[in-house]
């Protein structure tokens, strides 16, 4: 079982499966109603809904693959770590490979000869090249272990740890993050649930470019604790406010149509034209014992399938107000007034009611859509991201190199030179190292030549 969980075959299969599922997730629209899938994908709706591909990235199928991937990475690292730790301690007994190219055999004899003749100079040369060198003597046996850029050996493990940290952080985010949508008009204060502070929107402004497109939305907000302003900041897109574990983001804006102020124009017989300003739910006394009641306001009037008035959007595309006129509590007229289509106002044609009412102005307070979010997984995710990049750098740009020389009188010397990347270059590096051996016959000759010249 553990062998299976730590196998590379599983890694490859999981990578391919996760790729496939992710692709499917971008092809099937996510998070729609079941009816949507039955309408647009009648043939596939059954499969989509039963495998929960309508919210694929939270589906048991995807999550179990992710979990398996996590286990795979974990067990793979657990299998690799002890081997690599042994390797840097130099406890692996090196078995000389049977067939070695001549060049390597030459390296082996030169280095063991150097180590035997003048270990101190070899040590000095290696240290100068940033190798960590350990020399161990047990009885007659004498071994040298030189290593360089050891972190590079653990690059893959760092990357794997990083991915595990990110997945765990993501899981914590998914389970425990808290998001609260706030729609505040200027001056409005809202309490944060479970927190001792509240948030007040002081001012909301929109800046525009000369061409009319939006340059910025700014919400000047105050954090209040027991009525005291603790912090004031302008929240903008890309500039959230951080306070006590919460981040406040500028997400949207819009009009609070429930608070619409409406101006009506009333022409009644020979009386002077009257202008009334009122909010939804308010009543106004008119002349001759009539009362006008503003029942409703809809920014984008349309009729739903059942013929009931509703708003198509939150934009003021077809504003309409519903008024009720009563005489001594008896309703005598109820109807919609349209801002852009006053000709459709039926009240003008109401018999017995010599009155024209039209919708002249409407004004709704602007609200700022803020989101308060607390995400306890965030720091883990950032830690994982940092580890991920550092681990990748260690993988590709730190080259772990190890040299082992073992001497035992009467036995053949043991030699191994290993580098994680580009073994050939490493051999060339070692050849160059041999050239600087101070007591070597050839080199001393060369040096003398150099001096005499």
């Amino acid at each position: 079982m553990i062998r299976f969980l730590s196998s590379l075959k599983l890694t490859i299969s999981l990578l391919i499966l996760i790729i496939l599922l992710s692709v499917i997730g971008t092809l099937i629209p996510q998070g729609e109603d079941p009816g949507f899938y039955q309408n647009y994908f009648p043939r596939w709706a059954g499969i989509i809904l039963s495998l929960q591909l309508d919210h694929l990235y939270r589906s048991p199928l995807f999550l179990s693959l992710a979990f398996l991937f996590l286990l795979n990475i974990l067990f793979c690292s657990l299998r690799q770590l002890p081997v690599k730790l042994k390797q840097i301690r130099g406890t692996i007994e090196f078995i000389p490979s049977e067939v070695k190219p001549a060049a390597v055999r030459r390296l082996a004899s030169s280095f063991s000869d150097w180590f035997e003749a003048s270990p101190d100079s070899l040590l000095a040369e290696l240290r100068q090249r940033h190798y960590r060198v350990k020399i161990k003597e047990t009885g007659e046996k004498k071994t040298l272990l030189a290593q360089k850029e050891r972190v590079g050996l653990f690059g893959p493990e760092i990357v794997h740890l990083a991915i595990m940290v990110i997945i765990v952080g993501g899981l914590i985010s998914a389970l425990f993050s808290q998001r609260i949508e706030l729609a505040l008009t200027e001056g409005q204060t809202v309490d944060l649930p479970g927190k001792s502070f509240s948030l007040r929107l002081d001012r909301f402004t929109t800046d525009y470019y000369p061409d009319g497109s939006v340059k910025s939305w700014k919400s000047l907000v105050s954090i209040l604790e027991q009525g005291q302003v603790k912090k004031q900041k302008s929240v903008e897109v890309n500039h959230p406010l951080k306070y006590d574990g919460f981040n406040f983001f500028q997400m949207s804006y819009g009009f609070d149509w429930d608070q619409t102020k409406v101006e009506l124009e009333i022409k009644s017989g020979k009386a002077a034209v009257r202008h009334l300003t009122l909010k939804v739910g308010e009543k106004v006394q008119l002349d001759s014992g009539l009362t006008l009641n503003l029942l409703n306001f809809i920014p984008d009037f349309t009729l739903d399938r059942g013929g009931r008035p509703t708003s198509r959007s939150a934009e003021a595309n077809n504003p309409a107000a519903l008024v009720l006129v009563t005489r001594e509590e008896t309703p005598i007229y109820q109807g919609w007034l349209f801002y852009y289509h006053p000709e459709s106002n039926r009240i003008q044609r109401q018999p017995g009611l010599e009155m024209e009412i039209s919708l002249k102005k409407f004004e709704a307070p602007l609200f700022s859509g803020l989101e308060a979010a607390s995400d306890p997984g965030l720091n883990l995710v950032w830690l994982g991201c940092a580890l991920l990049f550092l681990g990748l750098l260690a993988c590709f740009y730190l080259n772990y190199r190890q040299i082992v020389i073992g001497l035992k009188p009467g036995d053949k010397p043991v030699f191994s030179a290993h580098s994680r990347h580009n073994q050939t270059t490493f051999y060339q590096e070692l050849e160059r190292l041999l050239e600087v051996r101070p007591d070597s016959a050839i080199n001393s000759d060369r040096k003398n030549e150099g001096k005499t010249k």
Partner: protein, 270 residues
């Protein structure tokens, strides 16, 4: 002043780089290679000036729409090709890599892409725009080099059997592809995923939303993870590696173009 004349000049120079590169495989090799390389440096300088002019004129980072982004991608590719030529010698791959640059520059110059300067929407006003997009595109430039080298590897596959000279050339393509992935993968991880997550967390309040662009960058990343695992642990080389590198880059291309034109999501700007 705008950058169009500069870009046109660099486009013409890049065509000459490609032609002289191909000439070096027929005529006097050393001479044409030298000419080709010098021209490449000249074209790079002219295109860099073009980028600078665009940045000054628009007042923001030179990669906020398709036209600007492809221009920056081609600039990054040129930079990467020059680095590779200096460090590893690209040999026969050189002119074919310039074929890619010429294709990208043709796209940049085409009238299909609107070239006007548009002011930045609030979500894009952040220094993360610089970091996220430039590092991602630089990473993708390396992956593009791996893509071309892998295609060359596959194309050479039929003719090289039994010919040691051709075999050496083909192995060089394989090595170029691996080196390019080794440089491009960490950069792509940093730019696309890490910087993208940090910026998303600041601008949208969530570091990961399973937006199609995010998912496709993850898919791209997983393909290269597959490339590295099969190669470094299982010892795959050559043909199979080349295939994964090609598919991986196609995924990167889809992330760049396809998601914008075919899928809808949060990344509706570029």
């Amino acid at each position: 002043m705008n950058e169009f004349p500069l870009l046109l000049i660099s486009f013409i120079i890049y065509i000459l780089v490609m032609l002289s590169g191909f000439a070096s495989s027929f005529g006097s090799k050393a001479k044409w290679s030298r000419i080709s390389y010098s021209l490449a440096l000249a074209g790079f300088i002219v295109q860099s000036a073009g980028l600078l002019v665009r940045t000054i004129a628009s007042g923001h980072a030179p990669f906020t729409n398709m036209y600007e982004s492809i221009n920056f991608l081609s600039w990054s590719c040129v930079l990467v090709i020059i680095i590779f030529q200096r460090r590893f010698r690209l040999e026969k791959a050189w002119p074919y890599l310039w074929l890619l640059i010429v294709a990208l520059m043709a796209l940049v110059s085409s009238p299909l892409l609107p070239k006007n300067v548009t002011p930045l929407v609030p979500a894009l006003q952040s220094y993360w725009l610089w970091l996220h997009v430039s590092v991602t595109l630089l990473g993708e430039a390396f992956l593009a080099v791996a893509f071309v080298a892998s295609i060359l590897y596959l194309a050479a596959g039929r003719s090289s059997a039994g010919n040691s000279e051709a075999q050496k050339k083909q192995d060089n393509y394989d090595l170029i592809a691996y080196r390019a992935v080794a440089a491009g993968f960490p950069l792509f991880t940093l730019g696309a995923l890490v910087f993208g997550m940090i910026w998303a967390s600041q601008a949208w309040g969530r570091y990961w939303s399973w937006d199609p662009k995010e998912v496709w960058s993850l898919i791209t990343w997983l393909f290269y993870a597959l490339y590295l695992h099969t190669r470094l642990v299982m010892g795959w080389k050559g043909k199979r590696s080349a295939l994964i590198a090609i598919i991986g880059f196609l995924a990167a291309l889809f992330t760049f173009f396809g998601v914008n034109y075919l899928l809808s999501g949060l990344h509706s700007y570029v």
